[in-house]
Symmetry: C2
Subunit: 354 residues, 2 copies
C-alpha cells in the first residue's frame, strides 16, 4: 500500500491522546536537552496530550531518566518512562513460567524488572537458566557474552531487549546492543527468539497498557502518536503496529533518508522539532501527475527522477521550507512506488531541522 | 589442482627440519596435556626435528605458554612459542612508521610486542592512534570495542591478530576474536585490513624467520611441516602458504570433516596424535577407477557416492584403521573433484584418534 504524509487542521496534540516519544535525538542528546523539546512538550500537554517516554536503552532506571528530564523543566512521573528493559521483562514473562531463572546480561534496572515480573535473575550459565536476556550496559564484557553463549548451548532460550546496531556516543558511533548480539550468535549459531525494542511495536503497545492508569481503559492505537528521529526504529515500529507517527528532524534522520524512504519507514507527519505536536500539519496533495503540492510549495518528479521545486506566490525559498520537503517526499515516494530508479537521484539540498 | 594424501617411508621428523605445531587440541587441551603429545615431540626431536609452537591465541606471554609446556616434561626455549601477537606486531610494523601510535585492544603481551617492534601502544581513541590492533583477551569489554570504533571512525587503520569465530572453553564454545570483531565492523562499516593468525600463512612464515637462529639461514618451506587439529585454520594456512601439513585427530577435526574436505582444507598427512611425526606414513594409491588403496585397506566410492571399505588379507577392522580413513579420504576427494554430490553421502563411522 502506498503511504503518503497526512495533514491535520487541529494540532496533533488535540487529535491524539498520547504521544509515545523517543528520547535520544528527540528530547535529549546525551546529557543535553534538544532545543525546543521541553517547550513543545509543554504546549502539547496544555492541549490535553499525555506523554510517554519510550527508549530502547535498557541500561538506566526509569527514575534516573525521569530525573534528567525533570532537569530540563519537564513535569513527569517515573512511570511515564518506558525502557526496553520494562518491555523485555513483560515479554519474557509471557514465554516463561513464574520463578523461571533468567541469565541477565544487562543493568540492575533490567535485573529488577525480571524480579518484578516474577522471574529470578541469575549471573552464570552454571546457574542453569531457562533463558538468556541480553541487553547493552556500559560494563558489558566478553565474560558476559561467554556466559550467554554457554547457557544457550546448554539449551537456554535466547531473548534481547533491542537490536540497535549503533549507539551514538560523544566519541562517535559505538557498537549498540544489536552489534553486541553478533558474537553470541556466531558462537552458538542461534538467533534471539524475540526482541522487545523498536522496530518491534511491542514497546508502544506496552506503553499504552502501562499508562492506562486507574480507569484500566487502554487507549486505542489511533489515539496514540509515536514520535521519533529514526526511520528504522521509531517509525518502522509505528508502521508495524499500525500507528500514525511523527518524525522530528532533531536527531538521526535527515532529508535524504526521508525522501528515499521505503514504505515501511515513511512517517505520517514531519516536524522540525517537538513544537510540531502543537501545530497544524498542512496536508500534501497531488496536483497532477508527477506534481505534489503542500502549503506554498510544489515538487515535481519526472519519469527520469529529475526533481523540480517551485514556491507559489508568497512561498519562501523551497530549500528552507518544510512544506517543500513534504511535497518532495510525497512526489518521490510516488516515483519510488511506480518503480522509479532510486539510485541515480539528484536530491535537493534541503536545510531544515536542527 | 586435485590434492591427495602423500606417504613417506622415512618418518616425517627425518624429512622435515621444523614442525610448526598448533597448541590447543594438539599439545594441550586447556590446562591438560594431550595424550602422547610430549612423547611424540620427544621422539621427533631425537630424529633431528626442531619444534615451533604456533598459536592464534594472543592473550598469554610466550614464557607463560612455555612454562606450561615445560610442565608437561617438554624441553623448549620461550622463543619457540610464536603467538599471533608476535606475528601481528611484526605485520603492523610493515604497515606503519617507527613510533606510530597503535590503539591496543588486547593483552599486555600484545602491548609489549608493539613496543618491541618500535611502535607506541595507546589506550584510547583520544590518543589519536594511527592504527587499531584488536585481539581477544579475557578482560575484553564493550568499552574497548567502543574505543576501537571511535578510533577507526577518526581514520585509524584496522588490524587484528586472528579471526577465530569460537574459543573452546570449559563451559562450552565462547565467542572468539573473529566474533568479537563483528561489533566494531558493524559500528564502523570497516573490515580489518589484515589478520596475523591462521588461516593466513604469515604465522608459519614468521616462525621460520624467528627460528632461523644464529646462522640466519631461513628454512625452505618444503623443510617445514605445520601440524594442527583444525582444517579451517592450521591446514588452510599450510595450503595457502604452500606447506605440506599433518592433521592430528586429537582436537577439533573428526573423520566426517576430513572425508568431505574441500581442496583448501586437505592435509598432506593424517596421524592419530603427535607420535605420527616419528612414524612412516603409508602412501595411498589409486588401484583402479573409484578404488583407493592404503596399507592393508581399500576404499571404493561409486558414481552414486556409495562407499565400500574392504580389508586386505592381514588387515584389521577398517572402521578402526587409519589406513582405511586414508584410502577413503582419497577416494572421496576424487569423487568430490569429479563433481560428486557431497550432501547425500552415508559416511563410515570410523573410530580412530583421541
Amino acid at each position: 500500500m502506498t503511504v503518503f504524509l497526512k495533514g491535520t487542521e487541529d494540532a496533533p496534540a488535540k487529535i491524539y491522546r498520547l504521544a509515545l516519544l523517543d528520547l535520544d535525538g528527540v528530547v535529549y542528546r546525551g546529557a543535553d536537552p534538544v532545543e525546543h523539546a521541553a517547550e513543545g512538550i509543554d504546549r502539547a500537554q496544555t492541549l490535553g496530550m499525555r506523554m510517554a517516554y519510550t527508549t530502547n536503552n535498557a541500561s538506566r532506571f526509569p527514575h534516573v531518566v525521569a530525573d534528567q528530564l525533570r532537569g530540563f523543566g519537564l513535569a513527569l512521573d517515573d512511570g511515564q518512562v518506558i525502557t526496553s528493559a520494562v518491555v523485555a521483562a513483560r515479554m519474557l514473562r509471557r514465554y516463561l513460567q513464574e520463578g523461571a531463572r533468567v541469565l541477565v546480561i544487562g543493568s540492575d534496572h533490567l535485573r529488577e524488572q525480571i524480579r518484578i515480573n516474577g522471574m529470578v535473575p541469575v549471573d552464570k550459565a552454571a546457574d542453569q537458566p531457562e533463558a538468556v536476556i541480553q541487553a547493552w550496559y556500559p560494563e558489558l564484557s566478553w565474560q558476559d557474552l561467554a556466559q550467554a553463549a554457554f547457557a544457550i548451548e546448554n539449551g537456554a532460550r535466547y531473548f534481547t531487549t533491542n537490536k540497535d546496531q549503533t549507539l551514538p556516543r560523544e566519541g562517535g558511533m559505538a557498537p549498540g546492543n544489536g552489534a553486541m548480539l553478533q558474537p553470541v550468535i556466531l558462537a552458538t549459531g542461534k538467533q534471539p527468539e524475540d526482541s522487545a525494542g523498536k522496530p518491534e511495536s511491542a514497546m508502544y503497545d506496552e506503553a499504552r497498557q502501562l499508562l492506562a492508569g486507574d480507569q484500566k481503559k487502554i487507549l486505542d492505537i489511533d489515539r496514540c502518536l509515536p514520535v521519533g528521529d529514526r526511520l528504522d526504529t521509531d517509525i518502522e515500529a509505528a508502521n508495524r503496529g499500525g500507528y500514525d507517527s511523527m518524525l522530528v528532524l532533531t536527531g538521526v534522520a535527515r532529508t535524504p533518508a526521508i525522501l528515499t524512504a521505503p514504505a515501511k519507514w515513511r512517517p505520517t507527519y514531519l516536524a522540525e522539532d517537538l513544537r510540531g505536536l502543537a501545530k497544524s500539519q498542512p496536508q500534501p496533495s497531488k496536483e497532477a501527475d508527477q506534481i505534489w503540492h503542500c502549503g506554498d510549495q510544489t515538487a515535481r518528479v519526472d519519469d527520469d527522477g529529475h526533481i523540480t521545486l517551485r514556491a507559489l506566490e508568497g512561498g519562501g525559498d523551497p530549500l528552507h521550507d518544510l512544506d517543500a520537503v513534504r511535497a518532495c517526499a510525497c512526489a518521490l515516494w510516488e516515483y519510488q512506488d511506480r518503480g522509479g530508479d532510486m539510485d541515480s537521484l539528484d536530491l535537493p539540498a534541503f536545510v531544515v531541522g536542527a
